[in-house]
């Protein structure tokens, strides 16, 4: 089926080569980082995790969001999602690959990563994270490829796929819960030490992932003959709405606990992020941008007369995605390290090599996504866009 990705229009190949160029540039930046060390990034003794881990955290959410289209279709026979499930599964594959790449580029000794497998440590959340992510990747490849292959042949998917689909539905929330546990079990970091960290992660995942899926479905419809369906996109819009409301609500809960209890350890990270402390305020404009984007998104999402217009829904989806990308992919991580355990402030900002490497990983994810979507779309176009009943 992969051979369908080798045939494409001029625009397709231009996009592919653009992605390869970004990957190439970032790869050279990575060679520089590999030679010198992680000192080429903006990370420091105090802020020891930065953009790489932030992007990883955000993308685990995007990967988990595949369940939002798989669950209604396979468990509740929601026919409208029939055409979009493969897009969701393939997005999950691209997202997990990006997660693994971000972990790899963040390692101080990347050539030793196999030590995590050679010396398994069940009490370490990071060990579990690696395990559940790898299995999730395998599940999505297995299910997505098999179902698509069956569609191409015009037959029903084999019955052994069903238990794997059910497993992937249960697995998706678990990968993001485990990732949340990386943060919510650390005694010294009060910004992260909250019971609702996993719930927050899931809420933003199920708002951010489907937003991206809406944008991708609209792009796919514009440039190919494949249409996921107006009803599917509207349903996704409703999912994004409710989960974005939940996400903002949860953030409000955090604000309440911090500012009503007034415990310095809880208050200070929020002050740093949203107002700055003692003249240190690099992240303040970034966090307020995220807030404004969230407000714009909610305004367009909550009112059905806006949400039903697809061009406004697209704006809302972009707004949601960017807002959450800033909040979970950057603000959350840096906020945990500022102030440091000595109540001192060391600020963090990504450097140029760090940004180039980050862009390259995103480009790799988009490359995988483009190829997989090209395969899916080609096969769907081959078969014709009739409804398939499983």
């Amino acid at each position: 089926m992969l051979e369908t990705a080798l045939k494409g229009s001029r625009r397709y190949w231009t996009w592919i080569f653009f992605l390869l160029a970004v990957i190439g540039t970032g790869f050279i930046a990575y060679l520089y980082q590999f030679r010198i060390g992680l000192g080429v990034t903006g990370m420091s003794r105090d802020v020891s995790w930065g953009l790489y881990i932030g992007q990883f955290t955000f993308l685990v959410g995007v990967a988990a969001s595949g369940v939002m289209v798989v669950l209604p279709y396979y468990l509740h026979n929601y026919k409208a999602f029939g055409r979009i499930t493969v897009l969701g599964e393939f997005l999950a594959i691209a997202a997990v690959i990006m997660c693994m790449l971000f972990i790899f580029v963040d390692m101080g000794q990347p050539l030793r990563v196999l030590n995590v497998i050679l010396h398994p440590t069940p009490n370490s959340v990071m060990f579990f994270d690696m395990l559940v992510l790898s299995i999730y990747l395998f599940l999505n490849i297995l299910v997505g490829w098999t179902v698509l292959g069956s569609e191409r042949k015009g037959i029903a998917a084999p019955s052994w796929v069903k238990p794997f689909i059910i497993l992937s539905i249960a697995w998706a929330p678990s990968i993001h819960t485990v990732t949340a546990f990386l943060y919510s079990g650390l005694p010294g970091r009060h910004f992260w030490l909250t019971a609702i960290m996993a719930a927050r992660f899931l809420a933003s995942a199920f708002a951010g992932g489907p937003s991206l899926l809406i944008i991708l479905a609209l792009i796919v419809r514009k440039y190919t003959k494949f249409d996921a369906g107006k009803e599917a996109i509207q349903a996704l819009g409703k999912i994004v709405t409710y989960f974005m409301i939940t996400n903002v609500f949860f953030l409000g809960l955090e604000f309440f606990t911090a500012f009503y209890s007034k415990i310095p350890g809880h208050v200070q990270p929020f002050m740093y992020l949203y107002t700055g402390i003692e003249g240190h305020g690099k992240l303040v404009p970034v966090m307020w941008t995220s807030t404004i984007l969230a407000a714009v998104a909610l305004f367009l999402l909550v009112f059905p007369q806006f949400r039903r217009k697809e061009n406004l829904l697209a704006i809302a989806a972009v707004s949601t995605f960017l807002s959450l990308w800033i909040e979970k992919g950057f603000g959350l991580i840096v906020g945990g390290f500022v102030p440091n355990p000595f109540e001192r402030i060391t600020e963090y900002w990504p450097t140029l090599p760090e940004s180039l490497i980050t862009l390259a990983v995103w480009a790799t994810g988009f490359l995988v996504l483009t190829i997989l979507y090209k395969v899916a779309v080609s096969i769907k176009e081959e078969v014709g866009v009739e409804e398939h009943h499983h």
């Binding site: 992680l38 370490s124 650390l186 005694p187 350890g265």
Partner: protein, 272 residues
């Protein structure tokens, strides 16, 4: 017999997986090269059930009192002087009271106490969160004496331990440390580290193994002998009721950093 491409690929793939898998299993099951009976600890080694330290701040009167401790440690262990706050590496250092004990917010605290310098280092907690999170057991708690150790060979540089430590005791090698080590003062009997691994105080396990007390404690004692005063660092077995540290803890008021977090730190502070 004819075989189609799919069958061929299936057979080739499964035989490769079986071969590699069988090879890995046989390597893992191979007996270790050396017998356990061939190795044993050095008989001179200092032993304890749980090493701990008492820092008596009242004995630190001059700048030199602090400096000899931090310099002794950093010299014996080839700790580099990177020179920037961003990437500095420190195993033991001076921190004022308000920063070493940030939970003790007090607007009427005398400026004297607020700015009183303390020595801070890894607390070798009894319930260390850094050990709990390490995915490779590169940092681990030694069962024999409770020291929270670093295995530099295994560390993958994920820095999860740095996020987990509530005391900011750990440093990361953001670049090759060797250019930042003073070659004149290099200790040729101890390795350096390479870029990409985390490091911290290890209670001088390599000295304890030879019957020597930690470098900072020894420096403090030497200075005390020279100046006719008492040393500020006392090292001993927290589980031995007759040790000097236990005697101090039973007679004086002591406090530790962030005890409410449940880490059970092994470094105690007294004010006299």
């Amino acid at each position: 017999m004819s075989i189609n491409r799919r069958e061929f690929l299936k057979i080739a793939g499964s035989s490769t997986v079986l071969a590699l898998g069988g090879l890995s299993v046989s390597t893992l099951l191979k007996k270790s090269l050396l017998e356990a009976s061939q190795v044993m600890p050095d008989p001179r080694a200092l032993v304890a059930k749980r090493w701990g330290m008492v820092v008596d701040i009242s004995k630190f009167k001059t700048e030199e009192d602090y400096r000899v401790c931090t310099e002794a440690c950093h010299r014996v262990h080839n700790v580099p002087n990177v020179g920037t706050i961003k990437e500095e590496i420190k195993w033991i250092w001076k921190e004022t009271y308000e920063h070493a004990f940030p939970g003790q917010e007090d607007e009427f605290l005398s400026p004297e106490i607020k700015h009183l310098p303390f020595l801070v280092l890894c607390n070798h907690c009894d319930n260390p969160p850094c050990v709990r999170v390490c995915p490779t057991k590169a940092t681990f708690k030694r069962e024999s004496d409770g020291i929270v150790m670093m295995d530099m060979h295994r560390c993958i540089g994920c820095r999860f331990c740095m996020a987990a430590c509530p005391y900011g005791a750990r440093s990361f090698n953001y670049r090759d440390p060797r250019p930042f080590i003073d070659k004149e003062k290099e200790n040729l009997e101890f390795p350096t580290r390479m870029k990409g691994v985390v490091e911290k105080c290890t209670f001088c396990y390599e000295r304890l193994a030879k019957g020597l007390i930690p470098a900072c404690v020894e420096a403090s004692q030497e200075l005390a002998r020279k100046t006719g005063r008492e040393p500020g660092l006392i090292f001993g077995d927290l589980e031995d009721p007759n040790s000097e540290v236990r005697k101090i803890l039973s007679t004086r008021y002591s406090f530790r950093r962030k005890p409410e977090l449940g880490t059970r730190p092994g470094v105690y502070y007294i004010l006299g």
